[in-house]
Amino acid sequence: MSVTEQQHAPGEHPDLPPPLGEAGVIAWFKKRLFSSVGNTILTLITAFFLYHVLSAIIFWAVTGATFTGETKADCDLGGACWLVIGDRFHQFMYGFYPIDQYWRPNLTFILMVVAIMPVLFDNIPHRGKFLLFSAVFPFIAFYLLSGGWGLETVDTDQWGGLLLTLVLGVTGIVASLPIGIVLALGRRSNMPIVRTLCVCFIEFIRGVPLITILFMASNMLPLFLPDGVNFDKLLRALIGVALFSSAYMAEVIRGGLQAIPKGQYEGADAMGLSYWQSMRLIILPQALRIVIPGIVNTFIGLYKDTTLVSIIGLFDLIGIGLVAVADVKWRGLAPETYAFIALLFFISCFAMSRYSLWLENKLHTGHKR
């Protein structure tokens, strides 16, 4: 009995690593970028443009930029002058919130993270208890931020910057989903009055731009109220933003409801489930899963739309940017402030979009087409 060993030519044993040039970085470059003469030319042209654009951006933002100094005169390197951001950083974060009370927005932010986690992720231990906390969080946040009962009162017109943007964005997002679901169900209801009301509301709100609603809330409403009766400008803006996004959310969710085959509705009826049971257990879980991208799209749009409140005299991130460049010390530094604001927005919006991708992957149950 002789063991026949399979013979391999040198360098062709299957256990050997693939030769250089067929795998790894070099192969990737070869395959993706230089596979033909045409592709090579395109690659070189693109690289040329990228180099020029990126080097200019990096020069402006990093290598030619000034990070330390006191006044605009210290910014003599030719690039961005980030001193304005450092000088006004606290206003970008908190607006005109009293400086000795910054721990309150900070604490609120930490609690917000704690409150949002169990909503976003279902594999957190003791999720039920955390969810209870999430339910009471809005009240805690309101108490912490506005004060009273032992804390110094801070009027909402002192809120600003990222704090205000988050308050507007998070409130709009949290309010719009449930209201949107109710409106979407109402629009598909068999009850004529409910259906008409929902259709009118949705079509009216969708028919006017957000800025009109904000103007109405800030300019017209006070004229209709009796003298001396005023309710908070921020509250007016919040209601406007929440109503606006609910109307859009309703239409996104209605799309999901329509995508559910009729058999599902009939099956739920055949099981003897009531309307609310069938919605809660059968229809909505499927419908909402389908429209996750649409929902997150609306969230991101809403979050960015909150910048419109700077037009009604609230100091969100954009408003604070205008304040910073109105400082005689920092005249003409608008590009730096806008770049900084864009970065803050990008971080939030990118995080939302990544979360939605993760959620879609987690929830896909083989129906993916």
Binding site: D87, R88, H90, Q91, F96, Y97, P98, I99, D155, D157, Q158, F215, S218, N219, M220, P222, L223, L225, P226, D227, G228, N230, I311, I312, G313, F315, G319, L322, V323, V325, A326, D327, V328, R331, G332, A334
Partner: protein
Amino acid sequence: MKFGKVLFAAAAATAMTTAAQAGTLDDIKARGELQCGVATPLPGFAAPNAENVWEGLDVDVCRAVAAAVFGDPMKVKITPTTSKERFTVLQSGEIDMLARNTTWTLSRDVNLGFEFVGVNYYDGQGFLVNKSLGVSSATELDGASVCVQTGTTTELNLADYFRAQGMKYETVPVATAEEGAKVYDEGRCDVYTTDASGLYSLRSTLSAPDEQIVLPEIISKEPLGPLVRHGDQQWGDIARWTLNAMIIAEELGITSANIDEMASSTNPSVLRLIGAEGNMGEQLGLDAKWAYNVVKNVGNYGESFKRNLTDTLNIERGINAQWKDGGLLYAPPMR
């Protein structure tokens, strides 16, 4: 009986609200702070500093009125307003007065139901040119290319002026002041035109501010002043005379630094202003030292102008000088 009580309560409540409408001063005293509307940031006129404190020429008017009422310039809640909402917030009672570089016009004074209490800055449309152009008067601008913000009265004034002078020009439209600064800086237009205060503010953002001059011609009238609602004359008087007190103090040479020494003055006008003689405060329904508090805490008009406009934006007094120095500032006598 119960119904009668309810009726009585409703009547009492109505009476109270009517009273509240008339007595703005009492409302402010009860509230403990003045509510004053200013511009959303406008360099030199109203802008918050890094410590969240609002500063500027308009803000100083608010602080002066607060000082006159309470003796404390910080007892004022500054409400930034956009140009579109400024009149609504004043009409609806959200603010007690508006100091927001607002031009005094007939229709605003009469039709909108406001009362302008004076002028704290005489503005007007002017021209900014580069020194290298070798122009010293707007009448030499024939054939120039002019940067102008589109859709503004500035554009119309410009057209009127050049037509009246029989000169030709070419418009370079810009959308915002920021964009205008860039276009002008790159030399794409010879002349930039907007209100003079805006020109000085723009000049400070240019790459070579010292190379630019504002031509002497002012082609429109923009008297900017604080205003209050119609219907409460006492409150309007307080705002008017607070502004006048600042102007008179400068005329008399009283500053925040030397006002304490003025008690030994022999000039009756000075003694009336600091409250040592006469009953000016009583007539206004204020403390006898109301004007003293204004000048002591906020300064006279000249100090405010220098602090907010000259030191920061290099705006010269020009037509905003005292009448004795050839300017337009002329406050009626305090007696």
